[in-house]
């Protein structure tokens, strides 16, 4: 399948990501070995210049990551037309064991490079560049992530073959289809999932509002823990939302009780509702959890002000996006239940 045009596009973007991260990795190693803040030695000046390059490359990488995530979804949709038995992208992703991990790896890369850039921005806002070392240590961690992501994507494409029969979302998530052991999400009942979903959403909104309203706290373990717990809550909410959208919400959008697919939501037949849905979810959870990055850094020299400002802005953004997301997510089911039928 490597000759499929979509496969080529994916491989080119994966290559691009590798190139970008590889380039910044070189800088990372040099910075970690020779960084001397405040010095004006020729090497230090060179290193300071190189940090700009690294940041530029990661910024490009972030954009590329976002686009390639998107491309992967589109490609899977396209593959599903070629693969026997696949009727939507779910089937295409399940055609071999690398599809789903590649997808999750891309998302992880997206979050990670996003946090990295937040740290970078904060670092630049202090005269002391207090985060530079930490930033480049983190870059050393980001690099394998991107490498694994590219590797998984390549493995997925390499092992994709039109002859292999795959299954589809209808089989996978269908209630009562547990007999063949394929039913992944059956054990969780819809009411339980929904109450968890709205409960956690409401809790996050309340806690976010509390953290947003609270005046600047003296650096201390208590307030830091609150921020970190909030970030973990956001990430949990992200995963939970993906499950709830797949299992509970998507059938309402399709108006078909047995069609449970997280990917078809992006299709034009359903008004591209997946885009605002997933983007608002991504925005909420990324902004909310990135506030913790700022909170962790705020005791560093020169960062108290910038970190507080960033955290406030991120929390505000998250608080705006969260209700928006819940609204979009609830729209189809609510309409269905209230109007008692299809749109």
């Amino acid at each position: 399948m490597l000759l499929n045009p979509w496969a080529i596009v994916l491989l080119v973007t994966a290559g691009g990501s590798l190139f970008l991260v590889g380039g910044s990795l070189r800088t990372a190693v040099r910075v970690l070995r020779h960084w001397q803040p405040g010095s004006d030695s020729a090497r230090q000046i060179d290193l300071e210049n190189q940090t700009w390059l690294a940041a530029l490359l990661v910024e490009y990488g972030l954009i590329l990551q976002l686009v390639s995530l998107f491309l992967l979804l589109l490609a899977a949709d396209n593959f599903s037309r070629v693969l026997v038995g696949a009727m939507c992208a779910t089937g295409a992703f399940l055609a071999n064991p690398y599809g789903i991990p590649a997808l999750f790896m891309k998302m992880a890369g997206l979050f990670f490079s996003g946090y990295w850039l937040v740290a970078h921005r904060l670092d630049l806002s202090s005269e002391h560049l207090p985060l530079t070392r930490a930033k480049f240590v983190a870059l050393l961690l980001l690099a394998p992530l991107v490498a694994v992501d590219s590797g998984l994507t390549a493995a997925y494409l390499l092992n994709l073959s039109p002859e292999i029969i795959t299954s589809c979302c209808g089989v996978l998530f269908a209630p009562g289809g547990a007999a063949d052991g394929y039913n992944l999400l059956e054990p969780m009942a819809a009411p339980l999932l929904l109450s968890l979903f709205y409960g956690l959403g409401g809790l996050l909104f309340a806690v976010g509002l509390f953290l947003f309203r609270r005046p600047p706290q003296p650096p201390g373990r208590g307030s830091l823990l609150a921020d970190i717990a909030f970030a973990c809550g956001q990430l949990l909410f992200f995963s939970l939302s993906l499950v709830v959208i797949t299992v509970v919400i998507s059938p309402y959008v399709y108006a078909m009780p047995n069609h449970r697919c997280p990917f078809d939501l992006l299709a034009g037949e359903y008004g591209h509702i997946g885009y605002p849905l997933y983007l608002s979810l991504l925005a909420t959870c990324f902004a909310g959890s990135s506030a913790a990055v700022a909170a962790v850094c705020r005791h560093l020299p020169g960062l108290a002000g910038p970190a507080f400002r960033y955290r406030r802005a991120a929390l505000r953004f998250s608080l705006v996006m969260l209700p928006l997301f819940l609204l979009i997510a609830s729209w189809s089911p609510a309409f269905y239940l209230l109007a008692g039928g299809e749109r």
């Binding site: 803040p37 405040g38 010095s39 004006d40 030695s41 090497r43 300071e48 630049l124 005269e127």
Partner: protein, 231 residues
């Protein structure tokens, strides 16, 4: 309070590399707001280097440097640039106008990254063009201006941000004695408006100008003499 304070400032180029050059050693200097200072010395003595450190273009290798209350000695470059934008107008030794841009475009270059719209930029440039008698040359490409016009344009560009400090590296090096006089009178006018001026020159005509408060002599990267000027 002094606008500029240097204490034990030294500077080596290419430090740590094989071609390391010591340009300044142990400079102590204070410049008060509203003062007009002339730095003189032979070629290669470190005048330009000293001005570049005051103007936040170069970081010093050692010592303490303060500009308008901000420590500028150990700053990352983007912070130095931020302070330079805010406090310093810099006039280059060789004018350094961009030849293919018009005079007006050259003068308003510092305003572009601040995000000022074209109309506002022109509004700010207008009084300067008028003051330096450059009105009629505004849309000339800089490459076709005469030496005197180039120097006046370079000064106008340094003033577009309305900085409290004007640093001019050999502002008269390329001018004849008549033009030197006009440019110095212009600078003296700025002093009267409350600006602080630091010039470098090896031209006695400059150090002898009545508006100069102090003359600092530099040799081999050290201050060897500070004398009262004509002002």
């Amino acid at each position: 309070m002094a606008l500029v304070e240097l204490a034990g400032v030294g500077k080596s180029y290419n430090r740590g590399a094989a071609n390391e050059v010591v340009a300044l050693r142990r400079i102590d200097l204070q410049v008060a707001a509203g003062e007009m200072l002339c730095i003189q010395g032979p070629s290669g003595s470190g005048k330009s280097t000293l001005l570049a450190i005051i103007a936040c273009i170069l970081p010093p290798s050692c010592g303490r440097a303060v500009l308008a209350g901000h420590k500028i000695a150990r700053l990352p470059e983007h912070f130095r640039t931020r302070y330079r934008r805010q406090y310093v107008g810099f006039v280059f030794q060789n004018f350094a106008l961009i030849d293919h841009l018009s005079l007006l475009e050259n003068i308003t270059l510092p305003l572009l990254p601040l995000g000022l719209p074209p109309r506002r930029r022109e509004e700010l440039a207008e009084p300067l063009l008028h003051r330096f008698a450059l009105d009629h040359r505004r849309s000339f490409p800089a490459g076709r201006l005469s030496g005197g016009e180039l120097q006046r344009a370079a000064i106008a560009r340094a003033l577009i941000n309305d900085p409290p400090l004007l640093v001019a590296d050999e502002p008269t090096a390329h001018l004849d004695s008549r033009l030197t006089g006009t440019v110095l009178d212009l600078l003296a006018g700025l002093k009267r408006e409350g600006k602080t001026l630091i010039l470098s020159s090896h031209d006695p005509l400059v150090s002898g100008h009545p508006a100069i408060d102090r003359v600092v002599t530099v040799r081999d990267g050290m201050i060897v003499n500070i004398a009262a000027g004509g002002g």
